[in-house]
């Protein structure tokens, strides 16, 4: 029974070899000529300022999450718009699409109402504005 899987074994070995061979060949043949400008991280041609390992503001995270949701929404709207003309019941298709948009939009409204879109946050506990 295990012999049936010899193809998998060959595949595994080939896969490992395909990755390792170029690395080893490169290690053997490439010239070693490192200097400071060459090893510097590439940031669109600018000289990097400061350390890359800094703490990012948590507020970027919320914004990014909201962005992702709408990004995914657009990805879902494309196939819907594409087949819309060939739908047997256009009114139903339109309604379904609108309900979908409404549900995602409701998320934005909730975020807005709960203050997740405010860049300057207010904390409920002492009603004090916190400036950064």
């Amino acid at each position: 029974m295990l012999q049936d899987y010899h193809a998998v074994l060959v595949f595994l070995i080939t896969g490992v070899a395909m990755v390792c061979t170029p690395l080893i060949l490169g290690l053997l043949f490439r010239p070693k000529n490192d200097y400071a400008e060459k090893t510097m991280p590439y940031e669109c041609g600018e000289d990097p300022i400061g350390d890359a390992q800094i703490r990012f503001d948590m507020r970027f995270y919320t914004t990014a999450l909201i962005f992702i949701i709408f990004e995914v929404e657009i990805a879902f709207m494309f196939p819907w718009a594409h087949v819309f003309n060939s739908a047997p019941d256009k009114l139903f298709a339109l309604g379904a699409g609108l309900i979908f948009i409404f549900i995602v939009f409701l998320g934005l409204i909730v975020d807005w109402a709960k203050g997740d879109l405010d860049w300057v946050k207010t904390f409920d506990t002492n009603k004090r504005r916190v400036q950064d």
Binding site: M1, D89, F92, I103, L106, V110, A113
Partner: protein, 499 residues
Amino acid sequence: MSPELLADFAAIAPEMWLVGAILATVIADLFVGQRGRYFVGALALAGVGMALCKLSDGATGGSDGTAFGMLAVDGHAAFFRALILAGTGLVILHGLVFRGMEDSSRNEFIPMVLGTGLGASLLVASDNLIMLLLSMELLSLSSYLLAGWQRKERRSSEAALKYLIYGAVASAIMTFGFSLVWGLTGSMNLSEIGHRLALDVLGDNAPGFGMVMATVLVFVGLFFKASVFPFHFWAPDVYEGAPTPVTTLLAVVSKAAAFGVLVRFVDAVFLAGQEPYELLESLGWIVAVLAAVTMTYGNITAVLQRNVKRLLGYSSIAHAGYLLMGVAVMLVGDEATADMGRESLLFYMATYYLATIGAFGCAMYLANRFGAEDTDDYQGLAWSAPYVCGAMVVFLVSLTGLPPTVGFVGKLYLLKASWAGGLEWLAVVASLNAVVALYYYFKVARALFLRGEQTVVPGTPHKGLVPVIAYASLFALAGATIWYTFSDVLIVWAEASPL
């Protein structure tokens, strides 16, 4: 809308009501705020109630008996959906009075519980690997969030993190299993996969090692949700750390969904053919051994616990072992005993449901009023809260499996099915386990009634209508647990829930 589409939507009407309730509670929260939390709760309960009413219509979908070709809305699904909806409703009710939670977070808690219920009720009807995965993720993602709902409580955050990491790994393994199943059989549809396997068996080409591997990988994901040994490690920590209503949700709704879909998977994929084959035998033995190990491990470890939620967590692992006996009988036995195994599993799930919701509800009451979480804190509380402690004892007796409770009848049926299915040793192991279970369940009852001083501690009792309703539900559950004729209703219902 075409009549076919209408029939499909009619079949998932309960889920549509849940979606409606989620949207309604989210919108209502924006207008009424935390002062209107009982209003939001009432909206959610109304949605769950409507879903239960729609469920009783028994719509099964389009001409092929499925909804959208994705959901098999049969009796089996109806049984589990009813349990899941009822559990979701009770969790929302208990969530309204749980004191460990800030009032400002209660309104967001409710749609999240509804989301878990939605995922669970879609999961038990899933007849397609993609649908199964999607609804499983809906169930999981909402429960990860809920486990960490007490943001200021370290244990709660720990619970959420552990659950998320273990859950993501289990989910990844299960998805890999799905890809193997699809690769080996060329179909995503469970019944289609079953038919192809049955044809292979007829053509003297029984599925071999690859299919065993694929199935084991799929089982990893489902066993994780059901907290079966060796995928149970998350359960005690998460059960202890999560807010008590969420613990209830994980112990009943999540577990029911996992077993509902496990039974459907086993039945559709492996029992479609006429004759048993070698693969079934080996899978059946894997499951039977896991069942025995799970119940023994859960019971013996529970003996050592002092925190009541943790103790009930280990007890819930042990019950996953008992429930798994039914699946083992389905795989090992012939056609008649397979049905017996499935029906006894359904019935046992219902009895486990009653007692577990009740036990966690009583634990929540004692924690709310007296701040009691350990068995040491429980000492002598029966003199202060006799009725709730009495109800607690009823639930514990039912979890042990002693008469006069439905738990006894449930165990009896499981043992009978296991014996008839040729797994006599498993029946013996299960009955020995009940003896161990008696010790630690009795430990809680003893602390409440026989230990400590016989003085009345007032604690901080609840006032108002909603707590009264929430705690009245505990006595209703206790009545259902102790009431012998109710077990007949459940048995008839389980037998009338075909796949």
